[in-house]
Symmetry: C2
Subunit: 193 residues, 2 copies
């Protein structure tokens, strides 16, 4: 069952997770949920999507995922996994075809460090458009974002590993999404390429 419908408080819980599928509790514009979607799609995993209204979460969702986070994964056996980096690593281990993370411990650590760095940049994609919408001066935030991106670009290759996975699965969705939604970030981001 995959539907565009968004489940809010008072909604009827979806049925059990179909056999041979995994379920993703998601929100269409959430960049963290997008990480899990990209991994699911890249690996060709069969999944269904249940979109959650994050401002008015259903009780049945909070019973499954006590912190109410998306992405949350649920298996037909009722196993529940949340926190986006944890869901991505879980999927990469359970579905070993087309591995996204390197198998050697240092290569894997490099990818995780890069994701951690980039996670510190993500809040700016919200703070800047929101501040601008409210008529605030966001030049300080833009300078901070630029500084963080510059630092990421300057990291020695030994700290970041191969960039393909990062570009496709971590950095890509946030930038592209907010690019489309918030054209005023475009110039700033293009400067940094």
């Amino acid at each position: 069952m995959t539907t565009e419908k968004c489940f809010a408080k008072g909604s009827v819980a979806p049925g059990p997770v179909p056999k041979d599928h995994i379920r993703l509790y998601s929100m269409r514009f959430c960049p963290f949920a997008q990480r899990a979607r990209l991994v699911l799609n890249a690996k060709g995993i069969k999944y269904d999507t249940i979109n959650i209204n994050l401002k008015d979460k259903p009780d049945w969702f909070l019973e499954k995922s006590p912190f109410g986070l998306v992405p949350t994964l649920e298996t037909p056996a009722g196993e529940v996994v949340y926190e986006s980096p944890i869901t991505c690593e879980y999927l990469d281990e359970v579905y070993p075809e087309k591995r996204l993370l390197p198998s050697n411990p240092f290569g894997k650590a490099q990818q995780k460090m890069m994701l951690e760095h980039f996670s510190k940049v993500t809040p700016y994609f919200y703070k800047i458009p929101t501040g601008r919408k409210n008529g605030e001066d966001v030049s300080g935030l833009e300078a901070e974002l630029k500084e963080k991106f510059t630092k990421l670009n300057e990291l020695p290759r030994s700290h970041t590993g191969a960039e393909e996975v990062v570009r496709a699965h971590v950095r890509g969705p946030c930038c592209q999404n907010h690019h489309a939604q918030h054209g005023h970030l475009q110039g700033l981001l293009q400067d940094l390429r």
Copy 2:
């Protein structure tokens, strides 16, 4: 080379990492560095410790670990790993004797989720004593901490997995450390046991 000395800006960088050892850049009272120390000790890994003055970091340290974080690990080959959960998982993979994380993906995800939950509690161990020292009313923060602990204790076992690793390697050090340093948290923590 393991020394109690704390390296600050202007200090001479320590020599190369000894063969068959791993180096931990640490700070004695940092609960995140403690996580790595506990894993190193539990697994019987040979390591040397370099303590960093986090308020006045040496340039040579920032060259190795661009974000200046402890724990940072360095191998004799010059590989550098930081961010405490990443260092712990790296150590568990590189030194597979006495595995601390389960080998099955869901069990591993459970442990990581528990660590993530507990990481949201840690800041209170600083905010409460600091606020109290400054004569502020910390009753609101104490109530928040209690609520977070209560929620952690209420999590279904299916969300948290076996608790041994968590107690020993995640929750233990923070609580014990701050217990000893800040006796006023003791009553609160005992209530929650």
